[in-house]
């Protein structure tokens, strides 16, 4: 793991309506091969922050830097080419397209040979998808959809993968499977920034975490530190009074 952050978000102010920011000066960073969790109560601006970083929500001020390059004003489809992939929480696969076509779209701009090789790699990593390649996206289970969305995002070999609530609507077993896949992805050097309501699972997999409240940074630290701080856990993370350890919860 290098010390320089691959993603730097500095004092970002962003929102859906001009003059009414949801994110009010948030700063976060992620290093290569690191999993960073964004935590906090509902309405903290976590998902809006991810969307703003991905180029989907207008940024009023602040900066997003990818390997030191300012990408703040890049439109969403160029953000992908720059190396930043985003997986939305819901409706994250094309229901009327087959699994294979979903994957093809993820590598549409690459040469045919590279495209085929990347898709085969994705099938190797997500064996379930290889068996369902002709099935329509809309016919997949919640967990399979999540896997497909992550697999598609990884096809461009992003420097940073942004995930909005990857465990939403999944069974505990599927949450475990999904998070294990994320650990495998981390091992390739991709930085992962994830927003999670499932705080225990997120802190169990994350290296570091930020707690956002009211669109602002409130706390930051290693996942183990935050999990061990019972006052933070009770106030902002919806965790019970018992202390939890960093690798608990999966």
């Amino acid at each position: 793991m290098t010390s320089l952050p691959v993603l730097e978000v500095c004092e970002l102010v962003a929102g859906y309506e001009p003059g009414a920011p949801v994110v009010r000066g948030v700063s976060v960073s992620a290093r290569r091969g690191e999993i960073v969790a964004l935590l906090g109560p509902n309405g903290a601006g976590k998902s809006t922050l991810l969307k703003a970083v991905a180029g989907l929500v207008p940024v009023e001020s602040g900066e997003v830097r990818l390997e030191g390059v300012d990408v703040t004003r890049l439109v969403a489809h160029r953000m992908v080419l720059a190396g930043l992939a985003f997986v939305p929480q819901t409706d994250n696969v094309f229901a009327t397209l087959s699994v294979h076509d979903n994957l093809e779209l993820g590598v549409a701009g690459l040469p045919t040979k590279v495209r085929r090789a990347r898709i085969e790699q994705a099938y190797a990593l997500f064996g379930d998808l290889a068996r369902q390649r002709r099935l329509l996206g809309g016919r997949l289970s919640g967990g399979q959809r999540q896997m497909l969305a992550i697999a598609r995002a990884l096809l461009v070999q992003p420097k940073v993968l942004l995930l909005d609530e990857p465990s939403a609507g999944l069974s505990p077993k599927m949450v475990g499977d999904t998070f294990r896949k994320l650990s495998e992805v981390r091992a390739t050097g991709t930085a992962i920034v994830l927003v999670e309501q499932n705080t225990r699972a997120a802190l169990a997999i994350a290296d570091r975490a930020y707690v956002l409240v009211g669109g602002r940074n409130r706390h930051a630290g290693s996942a183990a530190e935050l999990a061990a701080d019972s006052s933070i856990a009770q106030l902002y993370l919806g965790l019970g009074p018992q202390r939890m350890t960093a690798r608990e919860g999966l």
Binding site: A76, H77, F86, V87, P88, V93, T96, L97, A108, R152
Partner: protein
């Protein structure tokens, strides 16, 4: 009993289907009913007429009919140039009008604006070309018997073949090409399409060019087998929308089936009920199908 009415219905249905393919494409990707689509049919026809005249003035031999057709190379070349030209017109209208309203998220304003644009485009066409009918050719064609008492002209056969080629080509493009997949993706979710790296603005541009090109082809074929009039696109607008809705918005095969059903229903009405019931019977079929299957015959964009 002669089945001529059936053949007439298929020929009319083919023209409707061609226009409806453009309607279904733009409707599913741009998410609004563009009532100016009919004007693209008229403008496409007149673009081709002007171009054919210009080509004819450069090379007189280009006007000589390509037997057994009633028109020469000039019209075929004009069609190839007029299709992207009509697409350009459609895209320019989007840049000048629809894109601004789309950014504000005003769906009903888009529909109303398309009504206004339709009237303005039609009036402009009347100013430039007058309301008098125009023809690609004044050659008289002899209809040839094809069995069961049916007679069709070579131009009508050309219309059927051209429609089949264009609709099949569009279907194959949507089903098997990267651009087609991207168009289907944008049709389903523009935001997700952006997220995975699709340039949605480029896909919208392509959609206008394809939709405009198909409308132009419908206009030229209509001008070839009937006549060119500034109001011809407007007259075709409701059957085109009926066919697109009947077939299922987003489905090209559905638009083809919808166009043929509407065309044949209209012909049946003329044959057995009376010409004044033509439009009424077609829409009765539309209502009946939608009551049984609200998403139309083929549902969403499936290539």
């Amino acid at each position: 009993m002669s089945l001529q009415f059936f053949a007439d219905g298929v020929i009319a249905g083919a023209m409707i289907a061609l226009g409806a393919s453009g309607v279904t494409l733009t409707y599913s990707i741009l998410r609004f009913a563009n009532f100016a689509q009919g004007e693209f049919v008229s403008w496409g026809g007149y673009f081709a007429l002007s171009l054919a005249g210009w080509i004819g003035s450069l090379a007189a031999s280009a006007i000589e009919p390509l037997e057994p057709l009633s028109v020469g190379w000039s019209v075929l070349l004009a069609l190839l140039v007029a299709m992207p030209l009509t697409g350009l017109l459609a895209w320019l209208l989007d840049v000048a009008l629809f894109a601004r309203l789309r950014r504000r998220g005003a769906a009903i304003a888009l529909v109303m604006a398309s009504f206004g644009a339709s009237m303005a485009l039609r009036a402009l066409l009347e100013v430039v070309y007058s309301t008098r009918p125009a023809y690609f050719s004044r050659e008289l064609q002899i209809a040839v018997p094809v069995g069961h008492g049916i007679r069709v002209t070579p131009d009508q056969i050309a219309l059927l073949v051209t429609t089949a080629v264009l609709v099949a080509g569009l279907h194959l493009m949507l089903a098997y090409t990267r651009t087609g997949r991207s168009m289907r993706a944008v049709s389903e979710s523009p935001e997700l399409a952006r997220v995975i790296g699709i340039d949605v603005a480029r896909i919208i541009r392509i959609t206008w060019f394809v939709g405009g090109g198909l409308a132009c082809a419908a206009g030229v074929l209509l001008g070839l087998v009937v006549q060119l009039r500034p109001a011809m696109g407007f007259d075709l607008l409701l059957p085109m929308f009926a066919a697109a809705i009947l077939g299922g918005i987003g489905s090209v095969p559905g638009a083809l089936a919808g166009g043929l059903i509407i065309g044949i229903a209209e012909a049946l009405a003329v044959q057995f009920v009376g010409a004044e019931w033509r439009a009424g019977v077609a829409f009765a079929v539309l209502v009946l199908v939608l009551l049984i299957r609200p998403t139309g015959l083929a549902g969403r964009m499936a290539g």
